[in-house]
């Protein structure tokens, strides 16, 4: 019995969160006595896909039909189901993302599979099959038993520590996968795709520098961007900042925005309202810079500086440059 793992590609490279998904799926395969098989959809060269072997995958099924160039959860879910059937996989693992959730959902309905999204740890597979997931936007966890024959797990970032020690040593075999595509999955027409180029994506980022209303206006973002640049970090913001159009909507972090889980989250001039905290509580280390010592964010922080962001940010940027 195999474990089928879907990975996301970004410009032909396997996303870091997807490498985690591979490692996660391979561990589940080892636990349940099966093989870890990966499904990749989109353009990528074999050399890149072979890297799935570093984290325990034996084989990568690669579908790269031109029709699949745009993210299409319906067609991709069809492929996932076909791949699960070909490989006789009873456990399917996907990375938590808009696409991962959408594919998992469509596939679950086709396969009559139990689906758990937001998984934060390896499952218990002795006796019943139990997984732990994040709920209430990180404010709690639930342990859920999956009873269905086919099980779909949508795994959150940081659910597993990546062991890089075997990187470059094991290659997965890459096989071309030619699914049958259904016209009904391609009825919608993609008119335009606007992607901010060259940005580190928030959900993938290891470091995020984020700004709130304390940044006072869009014209003041440069010191924050300078620090982010020096750190190789992605940038985020609080909800009022995106509501006011100081920053694009896709940078909005929190309960109603994007949920992030970086190693380091640096909050600049953000008060730390519970709705913002809900989106950042997956971060390993939180730094808060705020001129108000009573700002609630300090309660959730690992390191705090009480002071004016505009004085502190340039000092931090300098200090980062000094160590690089």
């Amino acid at each position: 019995m195999s474990v089928l793992i879907y990975i996301e590609l970004d410009n032909g490279s396997i996303k870091k969160t997807s490498l985690e998904t591979v490692a996660y799926g391979a561990k589940v395969a080892a636990q349940t006595g099966g093989k870890a098989i990966v499904l990749a959809i989109g353009k990528a060269d074999s050399g890149e896909l072979e890297k799935a072997g570093d984290f325990g995958a034996e084989k990568v099924l690669h579908a790269s039909d031109e029709k699949l160039a745009h993210e299409n959860s319906m067609a991709y879910a069809d492929l996932l189901v076909q791949a699960a059937e070909t490989t006789q996989s009873k456990i399917i693992v996907l990375p938590k993302s808009g696409l991962g959730d959408a594919m998992a959902a469509r596939a679950a309905a086709k396969l009559k599979a139990g689906i758990v999204s937001g998984v934060t740890a390896l499952p218990e597979t002795q006796g019943s099959f139990n997984v732990t997931r994040s709920i209430f936007t990180g404010k709690a966890f639930a342990t859920v038993e999956i009873k269905s024959d086919i099980k779909i797990l949508v795994v959150k970032k940081n659910a597993i520590e990546l062991d890089e020690s075997s990187v470059g040593t094991v290659k997965a075999t890459v096989e071309i996968f030619t699914p049958s595509l259904r016209d009904t999955d391609f009825e919608a027409t993609v008119v335009e795709v606007e992607k901010a180029s060259g940005e580190v994506s928030l959900t993938e980022a290891d470091i995020i520098v984020s700004g709130g209303r304390g940044m006072k206006g869009p014209e003041n973002w440069q010191p924050l961007l300078d620090l982010a640049n020096a750190l190789g970090a992605a940038t985020g913001c609080s909800k009022p900042v995106s509501d006011l159009d100081w920053r694009p909507h896709h940078e909005h972090i929190g309960q109603t925005g994007i949920k992030v889980a970086p190693n380091l989250y640096i909050a600049c001039g953000i008060s730390g309202a519970i709705q913002h905290l809900a989106g950042v509580n997956g971060s390993k280390c939180i730094v808060v810079i705020n001129k108000d010592p009573e700002a609630p964010f300090f309660k959730a922080a690992d390191y705090g500086i009480v002071g004016d962001v505009f004085e502190i940010l340039p000092k931090l940027t300098e200090a980062v440059k000094a160590i690089k």
Partner: protein, 245 residues
């Protein structure tokens, strides 16, 4: 056009989440319940579309009777009638089967809901319903325009957005800024009392997932404060102590 909006009944965003019965149930004591914030966006856009195109707007909730104030609020905001499937929704699959069952009976042109519920955050119900009905599903939708049978959608994708055109019927998971949340006015509140709210029993579904227990995250340690005058020390600490840089 016939629109169905599915709403969740969830703890208000400021709620502290605790559990009772040996961590097997949510402690509802002192918790204020609201319409899911993303569902509120879906509802707001549905009210506008109804005004624009005529037609009907039904709200659907899978849940127990304690959600009725939230259902009445949706009626006050502008829905014509409501259906409540009388069951505790413990699993996305179960919920989706109930929604698909109701939707099949009435053939709605458009089924809107939030991108995810803020209690379980699964973000999978729209996809499940779409597949169960054999129609397209898209999420998260930030902009929705309809002209006849043609729909134009702007959808958030990683670090950007995608604009696509499709035809009805569709299931869409919504988020801001699709419309501004609507607050019920006095007239809405009065008429909501007399609008029909039908309660139906659930159809049976094979048990897919069953919650066993809940837990709270480990408490956070104290925050280490660094004087502003020595801000650069932070970078050293992140390197040597936290070992992040």
């Amino acid at each position: 056009m016939k629109i169905l909006v599915c709403i969740t009944n969830v703890p208000d965003t400021t709620s502290k989440i605790t559990f009772t019965d040996s961590d097997t149930r949510l402690n509802k004591n002192g918790v204020q319940f609201i319409i899911g914030p993303y569902d509120d966006y879906a509802l707001a856009r549905a009210v506008e579309l109804k005004e624009q195109t005529g037609g009907s707007l039904t709200v659907l909730h899978v849940g127990e009777a304690d959600a009725e104030p939230q259902i009445r609020k949706a009626l006050a905001i502008g829905a014509d009638d409501a259906v409540r499937v009388n069951a505790e929704p413990l699993d996305s699959y179960f919920t989706a089967v109930q929604i698909a069952h109701i939707a099949k009976q009435e053939s709605y042109d458009l089924i809107l809901m939030g991108r995810e519920s803020i209690d379980y955050n699964s973000g999978v119900v729209h996809g499940l319903v779409g597949e169960m009905l054999g129609i397209g599903s898209y999420s998260p939708v930030m902009k929705l325009d309809i002209s006849g049978n043609k729909v134009t959608i702007a959808r958030e994708i990683e670090s950007g957005k995608e604009i696509l055109t499709a035809s009805l019927p569709l299931v869409l998971g919504c988020q801001e800024p699709i419309a501004d949340w609507k607050i019920p006015n006095m007239r809405g509140i009065m008429t909501a009392r007399t609008k029909p709210l039908k309660v139906v029993e659930p159809v049976s579904v094979d048990e897919m997932t069953v919650p066993q227990s809940y837990a709270q995250p480990a408490p956070k340690g104290a925050c280490k404060m660094i004087p502003a005058s020595e801000a650069s020390t932070l970078i050293r600490l992140l390197q040597t102590e936290a070992k992040i840089l």
